[in-house]
Symmetry: C2
Subunit: 417 residues, 2 copies
Amino acid sequence: MVFSKFRPLDEKTLVEYIKSVPALSSKLANSFDDLSVKEVGDGNLNFVYIVSNSEGSFVIKQALPYVRCIGESWPMTKERAYFETLALKEEGRLSPAHVPEVYHFDRTMSLIAMRYLEPPHIILRKGLIAGIEYPLLAEHMADFMARTLFFTSLLFRSTTEHKRDVAEFCGNVELCRLTEQVVFSDPYKISEYNRWTTPYLDRDAEAVREDNLLKLEVAELKSLFIERAQALLHGDLHTGSVMVTRESTQVIDPEFAFYGPMGFDIGAFLGNLILAFFSQDGHADETNDRKAYKEWILKTIEDTWNLFHHKFTSLWDEHRNGAGEAYLPAIYNNPEVQLLVQKKYMTNLFHDSLGFGAAKMIRRIVGVAHVQDFESITDAAKRAACERRALELAKMLLKERRKFEGIAEIISAIRQY
Amino acid sequence: MVFSKFRPLDEKTLVEYIKSVPALSSKLANSFDDLSVKEVGDGNLNFVYIVSNSEGSFVIKQALPYVRCIGESWPMTKERAYFETLALKEEGRLSPAHVPEVYHFDRTMSLIAMRYLEPPHIILRKGLIAGIEYPLLAEHMADFMARTLFFTSLLFRSTTEHKRDVAEFCGNVELCRLTEQVVFSDPYKISEYNRWTTPYLDRDAEAVREDNLLKLEVAELKSLFIERAQALLHGDLHTGSVMVTRESTQVIDPEFAFYGPMGFDIGAFLGNLILAFFSQDGHADETNDRKAYKEWILKTIEDTWNLFHHKFTSLWDEHRNGAGEAYLPAIYNNPEVQLLVQKKYMTNLFHDSLGFGAAKMIRRIVGVAHVQDFESITDAAKRAACERRALELAKMLLKERRKFEGIAEIISAIRQY
């Protein structure tokens, strides 16, 4: 058998591979004459091919044993494809409308075949840069997060199921370590990988490294990230991990999945929307001042949290007599204590989300991996001005997050920067 | 082979077993004529035999597939012996002066052979009931806790080591579930297993079940217990898991070991000392009013925390340039931030310890498993009076723990109840 051990595929060998896997060749009606194979991976890590003919289509994603955007000098286990598949299947089970179906997984080849998200699906981040509104985005993302987080938490599950899955995802440690490094460590120290819009932000980057209170808070979040197995996280839920049309929202790329604090996913999504907001002034021109679009982003941030809060607590109410270990019905099933418990839980989750969201914003401005929202602003002075406002807001949020009581206060704070 | 599958041993078959295991028979110089075998298990779970002759001695502990103090109606995996052995070896490596050496482990038989802690070693709880002072107890326990907790935490270790061991100990889920039930759940609801000094404490037990704020706090601690893998815990560090002489302190029975919040171990030990304190009035008589002994217990509580604090932060200082993931030297190695970080960490740990300690106290008064400190007070009215003071203090500590800034304030609070 040609593929009995790992080898990186290219457009040509990929076709051989497909021919050898009935689950894939049947998607193409075993017809290879008009086959199109296109490498489209623009992420930081993997190779991604769109495979299609007149009969059908799918996407092939292959993990190579290093970080694509850095090269072979930064090794990274290709076992991440295994955890990505586990997560895609679990998230797909819990939120089928917002996760592409997995058709085939090959652990030896670190290869996943899944539904091709056909045009007009685009990466959400590109839509945000282009100024496109997605009226269902908040609703869909709130739904995805509420369902995947609630159903994998102790609000729904027994300790036995929880520890079994926590143990399994402990295996994805290399990807967790990558997050620890690039989100919680590198931005706060001198690192060869860090970069920022120089020379404009030189002092700002230095200020991050010298801010003791900031470092104190980010240490607490880092420990939470490593130690607190609250739910199955996507682990990288920024606006580049979501594909959208006006009607559809699809969450992809959960290779960083593990059991961690829920606020990390919620914060990743909200934090990246805030980055998109602050980048808009850099995209404004005579034909479009982006003012209305900025309002839409703010509304989406506010709606996402509010809808998440509503959906999550509704799931909790619905399943309060279930097997969830955290709040046994025999103890907590009276309206007064239920209210107290939910308020405390959701307030803590809100503060966690603000903290993690802020940390994700900071790392995108002074760390290794930047976002297209800012990178696509060609005028460096203008870009730096946008980035600085986002950075200042993020630093304040990280340090003061426990003072905020609701998302409306966050929207006000964003407007002030 | 006679013992190729699990069978519960008795005094007779135990000798056959020992003969078949060279590591054990050699401890007895292969001489079985003057052999003495004595079953001494007085714990809640297992069978324990002291085996000795003129040449040597050891203890054999066998886990049966149910909870000994309840019977076969409460099944409990015998795999706990495997985790107990893992923990004994790890704790023994980290704190050799305070953990008995393991001589032999047989996973099939769920059987551990270890050092026999010869007389005058007795269970600490019995010493506390007898009113015996142990001048080195605080020092030794502070040392054991500081070393086992520090060296298995992210202050010393990398995420890779951490997740590997967290995953392993996820397997000890049945014992974790037992703790969840008897510590964090049963005391707060009607349960067939609960008992208390009736009728004196009937209203007090009911008040625990109806105290919404208490239930709110205990839920938070339960979630921490399940979710937060901060360090390798002993998992059952009460005064019945410690054997002492004036010179020696030995920690035994870590079958509940898992990766959890450090405060659970510290709280277990301090909480059981506080129970011992409140039981003293029930043991006072004409010849001994126990006043001086109560002062010694208070001093031991204060010293244990203060010495733990000192030893733990000293280990941290000593290893601050090591591989610990939580506070990388490149970010945190300046005196000002180090001070801030340690203060915050130790304050959180103090509050966790108070919360878990209080929960452990409550469950010993209105839950399934009581403590000999109180049980040995034969006058029920007198016993109830002692228990009520401990219960009231514990409820206050659980709810107000974040208001306390140091152990001296706790000692004052204990004196007031």
